[in-house]
Symmetry: C2
């Protein structure tokens, strides 16, 4: 198993060779990788490797890796599968340690030819002591070293790592997260894992000073017991958020086609979550949903949530959602209700909890009074604010509605940031219908809250689920703290 320092030269390479980069500027694969490394301003040396060209994209091309006159920290292989073993042998000759194999067409095809090629590749990797990411994956995305040959172009560095057996998920997450102001330390798409395993990469991330939250998409793992022990250990100081794909029978079959892994059974993974305290996610969106409170919020004192929304039916739905996710929605204390009732009319509203008060949704002064009273209530540990987005049919008769909403949203951002009661607060968007412009408004508003450092969600269900997972993580940690120290 490689030690951390050795892998540093892979994550922070000073030189990268791309095997399979051609002059044709379109298309992905090696050509796209090289182009993107140039576009994002990779500061080190770039070496196209292509036996049929002397120059590729304005750079001198080499016929093979061992012809490159200087040391190469990372080789990216993007040629058809049958040629991969020879390139690996060439890397060994050249003294290259770190290789990303983008190429697919190995064991995951389920065909004999691919299986044999896979065996051969594994053998060379082991014999050469190579640090290999892949095959059948996108590889490494490290904004800090401008190693970002794919995914959304990074505009910042952060402290979240994403370890993913799926290249598609890794690509998607780079854009999804960044659009919400969440930045990465490392994104690692590692595919079939013929070389570096989840275990190796988790060990690296555990010690990585740039990573404080680890998110994972797993299809299958080797060394289950070791991974479980390691995740349990890491999770104490760096929350580990895991989405396990292929938990169902159909999903497991799809896993075999995807990365050729054998997906574990659902109950084995339930045990994994129970033992490690890792936070369970069920989709890519959920991973980011859950990251947000970990990034921005201090641990809540309990699971009692104040819901501030509008509409009776909507309040019932919100309360049901929270309850299903394991959050409590306690009645506010009598003294809080008395104060609320002094300015909120009873008819059409409710001041228990959920605070179902249409009148405050577009009135910043009333909103302020309501939320101050609700948050201060000792029965409350945290807050979900439900914001309605979209065209109300009556808006045409309230020309100042947009300004009123703006004032409330500005207040929410300010109030949540100051957080004077030290109670976590998140915001959920409730969109009126399928109207494209409302969808855009909701996404924009969500982005605005999230980039201001306030966990924000595309629905109240998602908000409640993320908060519930956040609460559960901290409960697990405090329960197991006695045994650990």
């Amino acid at each position: 198993m490689p030690h951390g320092q050795e892998l540093d030269s892979m994550f922070y390479p000073k030189s990268v060779a791309v095997v399979g980069a051609s002059a044709n500027p379109v298309g992905w694969g090696g050509t796209g990788f090289l182009r993107r490394l140039k576009e994002v301003g990779f500061p080190g040396n770039l070496y196209p490797v292509n036996p049929n060209a002397t120059e590729v994209q304005g750079l001198k091309a080499y016929p093979d890796v061992s012809s490159i006159p200087r040391h190469v920290d990372l080789v990216i292989i993007a040629i058809p599968a049958p040629g991969v073993p020879d390139v690996l042998e060439d890397c060994i000759v050249a003294g290259v340690k770190n290789v990303h194999i983008f190429t697919s067409g190995f064991g995951e095809t389920g065909e004999e030819e691919g299986q044999e090629l896979g065996e051969k590749t594994r053998e060379i990797i082991q014999r050469g002591g190579l640090n290999v990411i892949g095959p059948n994956c996108m590889g490494l995305y490290v904004p800090a070293s401008r190693l970002a040959a794919w995914g959304t172009k990074p505009v910042g560095t952060g402290h979240v790592a994403f370890l993913s057996q799926s290249g598609g998920h890794a690509e998607l997450l780079t854009g999804y997260a960044q659009g919400l102001g969440v930045y990465f330390s490392k994104v690692i798409s590692y595919g079939n894992a013929y070389g570096l395993q989840a275990l190796d990469l988790l060990e690296y991330l555990a010690d990585d000073p740039d990573t404080s939250i680890i998110t994972v998409y797993l299809e299958g793992i080797r060394d289950g017991n070791k991974v479980t022990r390691l995740v349990r250990e890491i999770n104490r100081t760096k929350p580990v958020i895991v989405w396990k794909g292929g938990l169902t029978d159909s999903g497991s079959r799809a896993v075999a086609s995807h990365t050729g892994s054998l997906a574990g059974e659902e109950r084995v993974w339930e045990a994994f979550f129970a033992q490690t305290g890792a936070v369970k996610a069920n989709s890519l969106e959920e991973i980011i949903d859950i990251v947000l409170p970990f990034l921005y919020m201090s641990p809540p004192r309990g699971n009692r949530v104040l819901l501030l929304g509008g509409g009776g039916g909507n309040s019932v739905a919100l309360a049901d959602i929270c309850s299903r996710e394991g959050l409590e929605v306690p009645h506010l204390t009598e003294s809080t209700r008395r104060e609320l009732n002094s300015f909120i009319r009873l008819a059409g509203n409710s001041t228990r909890n959920p605070l179902d008060v249409w009148q405050v949704q577009g009135d910043v002064d009333q909103f302020r009074r309501a939320i101050e009273l609700g948050v201060a209530d000792p029965v409350i540990d945290m807050v979900i604010v439900d914001r309605h987005v979209g065209d109300d049919p009556d808006d045409e008769h309230r020309p100042d509605e947009r300004e009123r909403q703006r004032a409330v949203n500005d207040f929410i951002i300010d109030f949540a940031r100051k957080n004077k009661y030290n109670k976590p607060m998140v915001v959920a968007m409730t969109v009126f219908g399928n109207d494209p412009s409302s969808a855009a408004t909701a996404a924009g508003l969500r982005r605005e809250f999230a980039t201001a450092g306030i966990p924000a969600y595309s629905s109240s269900t998602n908000a409640a689920r993320a908060l519930a997972r956040f609460v559960r993580y901290h409960r697990f940690q405090s329960k197991t703290a006695n045994y650990n120290h």
Copy 2:
């Protein structure tokens, strides 16, 4: 219990009086109702009732209902709660039968004053034999009679009815559904149900020739056994889709604040669904999601679904989702796979099922070949097509990508409409990230598919869930058919 003909005069009134309409053109309540009835071109007589005005919004105002010189088919009451009993007495004097009480502030407040007012109101309703919708609700929305004093302005009539204890949900659904090309026969927001109950309204909808699908948001019901029997009966010919709010403890408490109903316990409702075969929904969005296949698709032969998407990780997720929802994702037969493999390269793709084939997503000819082969396979009963929406980082290098996607989408619409294999097909949008413009594009594309008569969903999870409920409905019907006939 009123018979259908009597209620016809309420749903198709030739005259409406609005008690509490004032000259102030802003705000909702009576004033807003009157204004909207004029805006949507209500063809009958409109009578504002307001003791302090002689004219309201250009119409002659009357001091009370009994002063109106002609018969009034429907009275809408929108004045503060304490005044409601007197107006009801006046309605009895005037010989009015049908009343909608918009006003809230009765039993649902939980305060003594509201409870007493509620008792008094119930007594008058019963004594006068009035057909009362409400109180504490939005009332009736009947596009065919242009009785649409609230909600999104109707642009068409349809065959879906929505019966809702929540006014907020009813308002939201009018816009949500219409934006997807789903039109209503009747939307009924009936609130505290002091007069007409769920049972009465369901009986009316059962016999209503304009209604073929009945959707319901319930908080609590009286006459549980009668409702269960009735729903079981209706459900044989008109699918009944039910969202029960307040299934959890917190939700139940919110129900009490909302419509003052006592929400049943979760297991009682599980029995309701098991006995009636009613289709269970868990949100407003799910109601419409489930309506779509009932509107457009014939019953599937089984629960075996073909998934056509792209990306290995995404395919695993899709297969997991389907499996969790009770759909099977069978391997395609060997002969189908052989034909698929003749033009789809194995590396990076999978031709089992899910059909994980990036190359067809933007290539209409390949898409056509792939889907024809997949749908024709005898192991397949229905299809979910997963469409990726949003900016791919590489799009800038594929300037014709938009046109290519357009061609595939046009093909999907045509293929689904022709449906030559008679296997239901739905489309799911998978959005890249939280980008506002992608969100708008996805909503627009969903609208396009849905208004073309193809069930379309904002996520593959939602698509799988809706299809699974649709399959379950038809299984229930065929299982119970033997006992019924």
